[in-house]
């Protein structure tokens, strides 16, 4: 039992076939992620033309990167040239990642994203997207399979540790409340979820929705919240063990969709990043092969 638990934290415990398969999956995932990057770029270009008409008084900095590299709202020509550089760099790396190009691409993408942040465009926070672009920087050199698989796992750990750390704060808060035995202002209040929902609806001036009775069921949402925190907190396991990866990706996408539907938290990019990076393999295996077999018939 203890041995089994310890083996969970061993990073290189796959046999050779599994390793080859993992590398294959990673390469397909990376290719699809690059395709998604093109879509993201077009979306940002479309946004920029809409956002650039805003008055320049409403441009202010939310990050040090923005303060350094985009102190004022950039002109259209500057934006388009940096956008083109990012597009070309992404195109050049479709088949194979190159470290120097990838670093420039990461900086260009961050620059593009930071402008939107400075214009108050907070609803599509692209942290996962940019983090993945940062983490795949060093995949230029080919080494033996064992080391390559370890590197892939560290990419997964890097991505999921953001969720784990978000969960860690909630766990710490819950522990603090438990020690103080003070449940005011906490998620453990019976009406916490309902009140949160109402404040969110009020932000958007939505009418009182008819589904409120779901949030008045006793104990359901306290248990749901504890489960959610546990999922978030333990999600780094998905990076360590490949067996639990698909489950965690599905759970986290589910969490984002739940927030989107009930709380109007518009996080679209993480959903597409996770889908393109982790599930494109299944898409290819299942649907393309099925399509091929239909054609053969």
């Amino acid at each position: 039992m203890i041995k089994k638990f310890c083996s969970l934290f061993q990073l290189n415990n796959e046999d050779e076939n599994m390793q080859i398969q993992l590398i294959h999956r990673f390469e397909i995932g990376l290719f699809c992620f690059r395709i998604f990057t093109f879509l993201w770029l077009f979306h940002k270009l479309h946004n920029f033309f809409a956002l650039s008409e805003r008055p320049k008084e409403l441009y202010f900095h939310v990050s040090y990167f923005g303060q350094l590299f985009a102190p004022i709202l950039p002109s259209v020509s500057l934006f388009v040239s940096i956008w083109t550089i990012a597009f070309i760099l992404n195109l050049l790396q479709l088949k194979k990642t190159k470290t120097t190009l990838q670093i420039i691409l990461f900086l260009a993408l961050t620059w593009i994203n930071v402008i939107e942040w400075s214009l108050g465009y907070l609803s599509h926070v692209g942290h996962l997207f940019l983090l993945l672009h940062l983490l795949i920087t060093f995949f230029q050199q080919k080494s033996n399979n064992n080391e390559y698989v370890l590197a892939i796992k560290w990419v997964n750990i890097g991505l999921f540790s953001t969720y784990s750390l978000a969960g860690l704060w909630k766990v710490l808060t819950l522990l603090k409340l438990l020690l103080l035995n003070n449940w005011e202002n906490s998620w453990m209040l019976p009406k916490a979820m309902l009140y949160q929902l109402i404040t969110h609806n009020r932000d958007w001036d939505l009418d009182m929705s008819p589904i409120y009775w779901i949030f008045e069921i006793p104990y359901l949402w306290q248990i749901a919240f504890i489960l959610l925190v546990l999922i978030q907190f333990t999600s780094v396991i998905a990076g360590i063990s490949i067996k639990y990866l698909p489950i965690y990706v599905l759970l986290i996408i589910g969490m984002h969709i739940f927030n989107l539907v009930f709380f109007q938290v518009e996080f679209y990019t993480p959903i597409f990043v996770l889908l393109s990076f982790y599930f494109s393999y299944y898409l290819k295996e299942v649907w393309v092969n099925k399509f091929k077999s239909i054609l053969n018939l």
């Binding site: 008055p55 202010f60 900095h61 990050s63 704060w169 932000d203």
Partner: protein
């Protein structure tokens, strides 16, 4: 000399060690930012870990900022935040109004920003108010008009 040494060192590092280094560094930078971060400014990739550690409305008290407009400068009407206006999504408008209403902002700056905001979104009106609407959530459930108004700023654009 030292630079050459380090570049050689990084070149000879194994690929997984490089990725590991990036992961650990970004976690550390995120931690530093969390403890010394000032208000809204962030070092980049890790953002808002503390999101929703406690529910927003649990204390049964909450507030929003809204813009009120007037044609004659006497009777002010509420503008509800229920649709996208020009390039502004609903969350953008909340973000801007929270920023303008912050008391750390200098009063001149505040008025300038608020004028620019109103002029951009509602060029057809002349008089505007920035209003803080505070409410008890248990009262708001009963009727959506159960809130208190507090005028923070009155301006006329021209």
């Amino acid at each position: 000399m030292t630079f050459k040494y380090y570049s050689l060192f990084i070149k000879r590092m194994k690929i997984y060690n490089k990725v590991k280094l990036v992961v650990i560094l970004s976690v550390i930078i995120g931690c530093i930012n969390l403890f010394i971060g000032n208000g809204m400014k962030e070092l980049y990739p890790f953002f808002h870990w503390k999101l929703y550690t406690s529910p927003v409305g649990a204390s049964n008290y909450h507030f929003n900022y809204r813009v009120y407009y007037s044609i004659d400068g006497k009777v002010f009407n509420r503008i509800s935040n229920d649709k996208v206006e020009r390039s502004m999504l609903r969350d953008d408008k909340i973000f801007y109004l929270n920023y303008i209403a912050k008391d750390t902002l200098r009063p001149i700056e505040r008025i300038k920003n608020f004028k620019a905001y109103c002029n951009y979104l509602y060029p057809q009106h002349k008089y505007f108010q920035l209003v803080k609407e505070s409410y008890k959530i248990s009262e708001l459930i009963k009727s959506k008009n159960n809130y208190d108004k507090e005028v923070l700023l009155t301006i006329s654009v021209k």
